[in-house]
């Protein structure tokens, strides 16, 4: 049976979620041998400070890269949560920063929460690596893309000689996901 899987990442400018989406899509398409498409907001609306990017993974050709409903929603701001939560699949997964008030989780939806913003500020060498931290978390709780592929895609997208700090942020993400409790809506 064919599969089609969609991930939406949303937050604010500076969170680097467009780059994160691109890394995920490349991990899926180039290193995991799936079909992948990635899209992000552009045009005048992208001149503001909100950011949103989507990835579609499939084992078949992707005719339409736009996402109507999402399997995984990763949000870093309350605005992003409020805006995108209605699009989450009934059995979808929401990954949210701990600052976000998560209301309205439907029965069957899975919820993870982690202090991404806090950890990015306190534990990473620079706060802008929050996107890589989030990717690490996502890689741990979602098996749609191999961790190894995500690592390869990260290394292929970061500036030379800064690979270590990116990998360290990714590993931190894996680690906090391993310890994060999972909540299922009832």
């Amino acid at each position: 049976m064919s599969f089609r899987f969609s991930i939406r990442l949303s937050g604010a400018g500076g969170h680097g979620l467009i780059q994160a989406a691109r890394i995920l899509a490349e991990a899926g398409a180039v290193y995991d041998n799936k079909n992948a498409a990635e899209s992000c907001s552009y045009g005048p609306e992208a001149r503001g400070n909100a950011s949103c990017a989507e990835i579609v993974l499939s084992d078949e050709a992707i005719d339409c890269p736009r996402v109507e409903s999402v399997n995984i929603l990763l949000v870093l701001t309350q605005e992003a949560f409020d805006k995108h939560i209605p699009d989450l699949e009934p059995s979808g997964m929401i990954i949210a920063d701990s600052n976000i008030v998560v209301d309205g989780i439907e029965p069957g939806q899975i919820h993870y929460s982690a202090p991404f913003l806090e950890i990015a500020k306190s534990k990473l060498s620079k706060p802008s690596l929050i996107n890589i931290l989030a990717l690490g978390f996502l890689a741990e709780v979602c098996d749609a893309i191999e961790k190894k592929s995500i690592r390869q895609a990260i290394l292929a997208r970061v500036p030379r000689m800064s690979e270590d700090i990116y990998m360290s942020a990714f590993e931190t993400g894996l680690q906090i996901a391993a310890e994060a409790p999972e909540t299922i809506g009832d």
């Binding site: 490349e26 045009g43 609306e45 992707i62 701001t77 913003l117 500036p159 030379r160 700090i165």
Partner: protein, 985 residues
Amino acid sequence: MKDPLTRLTEKTSSLGNYNRKYLHIISENIEKLTDTLERYDKRDMVHLWSYSLEIPGEMDTILELTSDYQEKLDFLGCYFALQFLHMNLRLVDIVKLELATSKQRSQTGKKLMLESGRMFRLLTKCYMQRLLNLFLNNEHTDMEYSMLSVGTRADQDDIDLGIIHRNPEDAEVLNRAIGRLASEMFKKANRLHFHLSEHVVENSFTATIDQYEKILDRGQYDFVIVTEMLGAAVILGSYSLFEEFETRITNRFFHDPQKADNRFHEAFLRGILGEINSLLTSRKAPEVINPKDDALRPIKSLLSALKVVHGIHKVNTWNIIDDLKEKNPERRVQYEDIERILSFFELFRHLYQIMVAQDEEIYLQDEGVDSLVAKIAEMIGFEKKGVVEAKDFMLVIYYEFLEKGIKAIEILLDDIKKHLLKISIFRPVFSGDIHKRPGFKGNLAIDFIRTSKLVRGATYWDDFQEEIGQEDNRFFNEFIDSFNQLPDRLFNKVAKGYVAGAEYNPASILRFLVIIGKKARDEKTKRVFNTISSLFLDELGRLPTALYSLTQILYAHPQDLNKFLALIQWQTLQKFVDLVQKKPATPELLAGYRQLLTLTNIHYQSSHFFKQHFHKILNKFPIYIKNLRKNDRLREIAEGFYSDLTSLPTTQERLDQLGDYYDLEFVRVSLLAMEGADCERTDYEFIEFCDNYTLSLYEFCQQNVHLSHGYSMHTHDLFALYATGGHAREQGFDDDYDMIVILDSTDQEGIDYCNKIVGKMNNHIIKRGIIPHHRFADHFGSYVISIRQLAEYLDRKDENVFIDQSQILTSRMLVGSRKLDKKFYDEIIFPKVYARKWEYIERIKAEMSSRHEENSTAHKNNIKECRGGLRDIEMLLLMYKAKYEARAPLSRRFLRQVIELEPHHANRLVEIGRHLNFIKNLRDLYRLKVAAQNVIDVEYLGPIAADMGYGDDPDAGDRLYKDCRERSSHTGDLIEELSEKIKPE
């Protein structure tokens, strides 16, 4: 010997990490591709390990190797990846060679970018064409479509495409094929973007010309898609279809002098001018450079605007510049500057993307990035000289070019603005000609909104604002009247129309509101201003980008934002506060958020006493707003003002700048106090600048009197100016200024001369919002008094003489000689106070006790006059000063001296000192945040309680009040105990 793949991998390691993707694709497929080529004896027909000049033929050879669909894709992808890496390596070699041998370095960037674009376009075009044929199964050959490149040719990060097709029924097949093309390209080549087509038809990669026409006629377009259309060039497919697209769609945006209505052209210009304005004024982080946003986007946006103004249909940036030089020769200098600047930034960005990362933002301090940027600097011809690195030379050029580029852009922008004024569809609205149209029953407020709908997405409204702001108020009055003629419901509906663009252009709406607000003196203008302001904040409140927009406005137009906050009603300000207090997800990533918060809090939580200086300064020096949280920087600015005073040519200019210095320093020290600095520091800094101000004021007023009266008098060291009261006690934030001015002479001419100086000083001091007090002026009818007059006055038998004695005792000399100060001590302080000190001390004790008895309840909330308040502490110090016949000012330093002199009372005195700081801190904050008065109202103590560490819950103000009362009462007891012990031994 190393195998070719290892050699290529090693060579590629000098390029950015993103090339790993291509190595991955090569390593997955190269064995099989080589085997297959050799099996069919075609190995020597295909360049695998070097750059090929026969790419189309070699791709066809590869496709013929196999009939397996997936193998075809893999082989083709592998060949693309090989040629892609060879192309980039070749480009790096060309750059090195070119820059080593070229004498005209400014042309090198242009030449290399053209070559890079040509190579990349050829490679991708051949690849896309063959993929598309595969995905269309080599069928549908009669399908007419055009695949258009709508972005920069050399950009490898992504390829922006627009696709048009002739027959609506082809959409499904074409969409499916292009979807696969995008997916395959993403996997093995480059990302494709389809913003243009997606804008026209949702979830579609392609659209018909009819569909384009429809969205244009509905006004559903913006400057981004128009810029893409204007830059479109055919990559694949039908040229005749593209020509039709140009005729029916793109050409609408070019200026047509034959047409009266150029609304599409105008809409595009209004959008793109707004975009350029916003790019030029956007905040730049100091540690980041971004060649695209810093220079390339504003320049390319400008060129898009210029090409539609001058009717240039070319799409390549360099060709457009060449044509502009011909068509607009009077701006040749600016075009040549832009060409040089573009050449530098394009090449630098391109090399960074190839060699480091495909990011637009370059964090210079990031690990590794610094050395890679250094390498690029050397590659493009910068050399290390002495201790200065090549990279540093390049960065200097980066910023120099940026500055030069902005100047050229501004000149060319002005030309476009003038052109816009000439052709605008708003001309009849601005000029009033619209009224002359037959049967016109219009309303200006509605006319503007209606007309602006024709230019949807426009963000440039400077011309409208200029009309509204005209001094003759012709347009303004009509605009306001027309608004007020509307029935209530329509009034609100039309008002909403003026805030509809808040998402894209909040700065323009805010500026428009400031213009109206500044003129809002009558009720009908206030109604318009208040309604639109409130709606504007409602609209902003709905936008997730509101905080980002506000921080951008604060950066680019600080005075507008400050003025707006000063003009809006309290309820609207409350909305603004609510908006700003929604903490952003990552405040540290939102540059300027903290300044925005500080500015908002100042407007929301500061007294008129503070604001009178604050507004004066911010209107004059908007740079101050950007530094609200950098007190050291503010101090540098103020010190610069002070040091510069004597270099100003006229006395009037010096006096004006001295006033600015006072206001700047007042605001700075106030901010320091509001940020939580201890009052000992703020008092010290306050008095320091006050003394500077007074000394210079005296000097400049003396010069002024000399100039205006034509004579100068020598006062023979007989003149002195003493501060008394709070200033003498080194207490900041007083709103009055007590002075004693002495001229030890009976010469009437000298007295007149000095009175004129003091009179002028008074005029200037009053302008600072401070009331000068001359205690003896009423009695003597003169600001200036002699020592003999003062001595006689203090000899009078009057029960209130102790008040004058206290003034004398508090005094601190600001202007005058030591000789005169000694005489003042010998003839006034000693004989008139110290010689009768026990009598004086008893009078003070009596005053304290009568004040406490008579006014025990009246003064309970007065932190100066209450028992244990500031007055009591001052009185206690005066008694000690008299007892020890001390000459030091009545400050904290004197209290410390008393502790040494009275070691047996040290504990009590230390406690009093602590209370002095507590109550002084409370008084300062109350003055700066609530009102400049000594009577505190518990209702307003909340924010002060939070600042003083009492928490921010609703009861915090009450706790502070209670604590203050208890502390004051306890201090009152201590003062009573101590004063009883001050008596002759």
